[in-house]
Structure formats: structure tokens, C-alpha cells
């Protein structure tokens, strides 16, 4: 019965689909591998678009609406491409009471965007995290992949200004 639907071929020639296919294979092309596969797609492409969701859903024999439901349930997944740089401000309790809201406020004003948004020039995405587990170093911020602790307002403004470059 289950062999009625053949595994689709990747949407295009992009080499990164090979990584996705590897995960799909490792998950035995089973529905249970949906979240793992979405992780791989996001790692490879930076975000999940309709094309990718459709491909993953078809490959794992997951209903389209369920794939979309899962992708939007978990906040780690994003359906929009991120900017060149990302600034993640931790809003965990320890960071919150040590001034994370003020950090967020400063960056929001400097960039003119809200958390979850990317600047119009696609240079910087501003995100918040629930807790990075770096509570000992609160307030913590992740600049691209690097965690920085005990961040002050001037630190973060300077860092983000560098990214935004001359047009900021």
C-alpha cells in the first residue's frame, strides 16, 4: 500500500538537498522523522520555505497540513530567511532581571525592527531566546553563533552597529 507514492525527487539541483535526503534516509522515510528532517533543512538552507516543506512532507509521507503545523508549532523553526547576521537576546529570567529588556529596547530602536524581524537591507535579524542556559553570565546575547555574557547596552549597540555598516 505505502509504495503507491514514490519518493519525490528534490525540487532542484541544489547540493544541499543531499544533506536533507541523508536525514530522510536515516529516518527510514518515516513520518516520525519529520522534526529531525526539518532541523536538517533549516541548518542547510537557513529557513523552511513552502517548497522544502512540500518536499519533506512528500518524502516522509506526512500530510502537508501536518508538516506545516509542526513547522509553525516549534519556535526554533523559521519560515522566513534570516538576515546576514543574527542578534539573539536572551530573555531568560536571569537575563530579564539583569537588564535584557533594556538591551532589546536599545537594539530595537537602533535598527527600527521588532524581535523576529530582519532589517530592510537584510543585514541584521533581531531575535529573542527563551533561555540560552548562560544564566551565570546574564545578560547574554548571541552574535551570529558566538555567545557573549554580561553584555551592556553600549556593547550590544556597538556590535550591531558594526554589522549594519555605513547605512545605519
Amino acid at each position: 500500500m505505502s509504495s503507491y507514492v514514490a519518493k519525490p525527487s528534490p525540487p532542484n539541483q541544489d547540493k544541499r538537498w543531499k544533506l536533507v535526503d541523508a536525514t530522510i534516509r536515516r529516518q527510514g522515510q518515516q513520518a516520525r522523522g519529520l522534526i529531525e528532517t526539518l532541523h536538517t533543512v533549516q541548518e542547510a538552507f537557513g529557513y523552511l520555505d513552502q517548497q522544502a516543506l512540500r518536499y519533506v512532507a512528500m518524502s516522509l509521507r506526512v500530510p502537508l497540513s501536518r508538516a506545516y503545523g509542526v513547522a509553525t508549532f516549534y519556535h526554533f523553526f523559521t519560515l522566513k530567511p534570516a538576515g546576514q547576521h543574527t542578534c539573539v537576546i536572551c530573555m531568560g529570567t536571569a537575563c530579564y532581571i539583569k537588564g535584557a529588556p533594556q538591551l532589546l529596547d536599545a537594539v530595537q530602536r537602533d535598527l527600527g525592527i521588532a524581535p523576529g524581524e530582519t532589517t530592510a537591507d537584510k543585514k541584521v535579524s533581531l531575535l529573542t531566546a527563551r533561555c540560552l542556559g548562560s544564566c551565570g553570565l546574564a545578560p547574554a546575547v548571541v552574535y551570529d553563533q558566538e555567545v557573549a555574557g554580561k553584555v551592556t547596552r553600549s556593547d550590544i549597540r556597538e556590535h550591531v552597529k558594526k554589522w549594519a555598516g555605513h547605512d545605519a
Binding site: 513552502q50 512540500r54 500530510p63 502537508l64 497540513s65 501536518r66 506545516y68 503545523g69 509553525t72 508549532f73
Partner: protein, 239 residues
Amino acid sequence: MSPVASVKTLKIDGRDLSGRQEETILDVARQNGIFIPRLCEMEGLSDVGACRMCLVEIKGQNKLLPACVTTVEEGMEVTTNSPRLEHYRRMILELLFTERNHVCSVCVSNGHCEMQMLGQRLGITHVHFPYRYPQEDVDASHDRFVIDHNRCILCTRCVRVCDEIEGAHTWDVMGRGINAKVITDLNEPWGSSETCTSCGKCVHVCPTGVLFEKGRSVAEMLKRRQFLPYLTLMRKENE
């Protein structure tokens, strides 16, 4: 297992009743004409225990339990109605009224809506929590049906009937919390869905006026549900 051992005797609202061990409190109550309010549960679909309207008190238990998923046990003493239960049910329903834009007077299901009727039955003449008034979409892209998210209570009956009975799984829920929403396929317009068979089952199990047939005006949408027990029965016969 002997058939005798699988029958449990219990008390519901002081009445001595019996049920098979796989039956829920709600099943037994329904068989005996005892009303327990519910919005997400529907005979013939799987149970999710989400709306919390069918919470009942069980003697010796601190916790309130949902009648739709709690199976009967020997000697169980169930109370289906009490001032405390009514208070909670009213509050839950009031919260539901505040969540989206339930404007009964202009609704296709006015007069036939499970939520509206339940409100009346629970004596709700006003909602004491402030309304949210969110902006929700109406999707009329389907040839025959319309979905108005303003009236959705996220009972997920449409999701379940489409998956469990029709087998299409066109519907699911996206997002979470207060932003959750039922969707078709990849959150695409219903009319362009590749998977929808236009069978209309979702429309008829919907407890409110979210899903309706095109061309129906205020109070004109009557839902037909006799197909559900029939389909369930036929499937069992053929198993």
C-alpha cells in the same frame, strides 16, 4: 476475559449505572440521558480532551477529570453537575467568547450553534472578561464551502474527521497558543488545496459557524451529522 468482568458498575449523579470497561463516563452518561456539556468531543471521532467542558467530579479524587476520556471504573461515583463545575464551565465558555469574534446575530449558525446553545444552557447572559477582537480571515476560495476563522473555537473536529473518516488529512492546526489556527495543506487557500476531496464532512461536524456551505445566510446553516455514526458503523461491519 469473561464478558462479565468487563462490565463496571458505577454511580453517576446518584444513579446506579453500568458500562463496559472501555466506555467513558460520557458514553455511559449519554446512554442514560444524562447531559454533560462538551464542545470538542463528537461520537465517531477520537477524543482529545481539549475543551474541558466535560470535566466532572469523582468521589475521592481531588482532580476534575474530563468525562470524554475517562473510562468507567468499578464503584466510581461521578458528579456531572455542581456549583463548582458550573462556575468553571461558565468561565471557560466566557473565555471562548472573548477569544475571537463571535457575533451570533450575523452568523450562519445562529440558532443551531453548539457554543451559543451551551452559553444559554449555562446561563451566560454576558461575558465578564474583556473581548480580544482579533483580526481573523475569511477564506471563500473553495467552490462550495467557506471558512470564517472569526468563529473558530479550535475544537479540531474538522481535523479529526478529515483524517480519521475521510482519510485526506487536509486540515491541521498551525502555530500555537492564542495564535493557533486551523489550516488546509501548507496554509494555502482552501480552494487550491490538492488534498481536499470536497466531501464536506468538516463542514457538518463543525460546532459553530466557522465552516459552512456557500450561499447560506444568517441562521440558515443546518449541520447534518447522521453520516458519522453510519460511516463508523459500516467500517466496523466491514473490518
